[in-house]
Symmetry: C2
């Protein structure tokens, strides 16, 4: 078996799923959840091998992502069952019109076809993506990385047993892990077999895929996220929002990385913000003006473009909204920015003039999330402008096609 | 000036257009149309230089595309004025909801930013794309090819004079032609400066851009288009639709390239189809079974994947709908396919099981067109599944962003 042959099998299987009823897809999801719960011990055993082999190679945060527990596996099964209740995103009539010449046009939602996903050391993604892909009618080819190889092998088998049990081809969910790095390389070249590639993981991984792929890519996740505290602001909301955005879950892409604060309120607000952050375990990397107000680590010149994904925060005092906007334009990855202000005119300028996927007023950046937005399931957060922007749900895994019904019309 | 500097200027100018009112954008379009009409002689003189220099280098169909006449220039100005009347595709609220925690979410349409367009020997595209980009709030960087360089230089100046006359920066519409092939090369690398690349032209050009670009690409236009004549069909519609689809304008992407016909009706229908096609100047390249029924050129093995763009048509007799569907799946570029049938069940199967941007029943494939679909203006026909599929109008040159308005919400 070659990667090409494997992906050709994905492509051949995809139309069978595209035409499957929502009921059959839900039966498959239910069978997968059952199988996952029945084989917890087997998954744990495989995961322990991966954990042992990665112990000295991965950081503790990556090891934490790699590890599955009985509880985590049960949560995964529960998440699969939740996908059953979501509406089928395919077969929706998105637009409909009758032309003067009598042609009847319908634009309907259809699956994308074959989705490639490249990720690292996160076996939960294997089940999550398989469930979301199935529900949206897409075949999926996965490259889950060598660290999670044993776990993923069992998880893929569980999914394939579930598929077979309802009469769907197991080629709908496949892994290219056995081919090592070559598997990912060839997926990136497989234009015509793979319809879209979604990298999930480090900024490095995403950059590599974006640079090397000939298959269209949806960029997700990289988040140098800003909050700007305006000169006019309700003091009471400032510290809670900043602490929540930074410290509630620092390892995720919607966590705050840079705080910008207007000079008119910095003197007054920074001490209380700083105290709460330090209490939450955060290290502040401040600009010179920040250093003059609170005790902190001096921010290096390249600090402003860093996505810490840790309990670190860069802080800069700015002289105006304009300075805040140009700082964000320069350093943002266009994921999420939030302004804290009581002035509605300032709020609207911030909303309009930031070129990011999600722009907020008086809210924690942690809300940029498919679950929070009510999508039910999340594929990732798109930071690009084509096809999907911001949190991606089932709908973002569909395309459309035009159906034209006539009675002999020719063009004049 | 480097390509990088030029594109940086595009990116810096783009937000000014993104925030311009529909009224100001319309004033700019009106000024451009006026300027174009006032400088017809200058455009013609430049075009004559290009025509002279290309006389021995280009095919007659490319020379026809390169040539501008007074009439064609006036039509271009008219097309620019027609864009004024189209609705502004930006600033539309696409979705709106209030979350249980009180957060107010809006998904609004916004311009993509900077659009790069790479095309060949078609100076009309320069004006068309400039108008469509302006209306949709996007800056545009053009690479129009060496053959049309003199014409395009004057046309770009006309657009820039129009922009300046209403106070918009001329950097909103720029050409990289002065940098030769390097201009196109660098646009393809300019991730972060250019938001999307749209190649318009030969299949070769499109393939090169798709393979080499690091900027997201929208693939347009390549059309190996099929009509399948079913065993059950109203005879009277067959010949008119086939002649229209093939011969009305053979050089365009929605023109018919391969006719598939069911064996049950081939004997009876092929002679009349063939006569009408031959009368229209068409050369038929037939499979063996076709050759047994009508006189034609034998089709070579690679004929089925060819986009002739000329008065040539490949014809194949098939034994079933399934054979027609698999032939299309193998050779189609996923642009447009049409079935001629009187059986509604067969029609629905054809609509559902073809994975093409536009699938038709009993209609000429020539209807796949932004103008015919009522979009008012057309950017091209997307044959890919991400972002846009089928005819692309102004709306397809927009992205979206989420605006979130809160009152101090934090995530629990």
């Amino acid at each position: 078996m070659t990667v090409q042959a494997l992906l050709t099998a994905s492509k051949a299987a995809a139309p069978l799923l595209a035409r499957a009823s929502n009921e059959l897809k839900n039966q498959a999801l239910s069978a997968i959840a059952d199988e996952l719960e029945a084989r917890v011990a087997e998954v744990l055993a495989a995961n322990q091998i991966d954990m042992r082999e990665s112990q000295t190679k991965l950081s503790s945060s990556l090891l934490d992502r790699l590890q599955l527990t009985e509880q985590r596996i049960k949560s995964l099964a529960k998440a699969v069952r939740e996908v059953i209740d979501l509406p089928d995103p395919t077969g929706k009539i998105l637009e409909e019109k009758k032309l003067p010449n009598g042609l009847h046009l319908q634009k309907v939602s259809v699956p994308l076809g074959v989705i490639g996903v490249i990720y690292e050391a996160r076996p939960n993604v294997t089940i999550d993506i398989a469930a979301i892909a199935l529900k949206s009618g897409n075949a999926v080819a996965l490259r889950g990385g060598s660290a999670a190889e044993n776990t993923n092998r069992v998880l893929i088998d569980i999914v394939q047993v579930g598929l077979s049990s309802v009469g769907l081809p197991k080629e709908l969910v496949q892994t290219v892990d056995e081919f090592g790095r070559e598997g990912a390389q060839q997926m990136m070249q497989a234009r015509g077999l793979v319809d879209v590639l979604i990298p999930r993981g480090s900024a490095n991984l995403i950059q590599t895929v974006v640079n090397e792929s000939k298959v269209p890519v949806i960029e997700t996740g990289d988040g140098v996220v800003h909050i700007y505290v305006d000169s006019e602001v309700d003091d009471s909301i400032v510290t809670p929002i900043i602490v929540n955005a930074k410290a509630q879950r620092p390892s995720v892409c919607n966590a705050l990385e840079t705080l910008l604060i207007h000079e008119a309120v910095a003197q007054h607000l920074l001490p209380q913000i700083s105290k709460a952050l330090v209490d939450a375990g955060v290290t502040i990397h401040g600009c010179e003006r920040t250093q003059a107000i609170i005790s902190c680590v001096p921010a290096a010149d390249d600090e402003w473009e860093r996505e810490y994904l840790s309990l670190d925060l860069s802080v800069k005092v700015v002289s105006s909204l304009d300075e805040a906007l140009s700082h964000i334009a320069k350093y943002s990855t266009h994921h999420t920015e939030s302004i804290l202000t009581s002035n509605p005119v300032t709020a609207e300028r911030f909303l309009n003039e930031n070129d990011s996927a999600v722009v907020m007023v008086n809210a924690s950046t942690r809300f940029t999330d498919g679950g929070e937005f009510g999508f039910g399931a999340e594929v990732g957060i798109s930071t690009q402008k084509l096809h999907a922007r911001g949190p991606m749900g089932l709908r973002e895994l569909t395309s459309s096609k035009w159906l034209v019904r006539g009675s002999g019309q020719v063009r004049s």
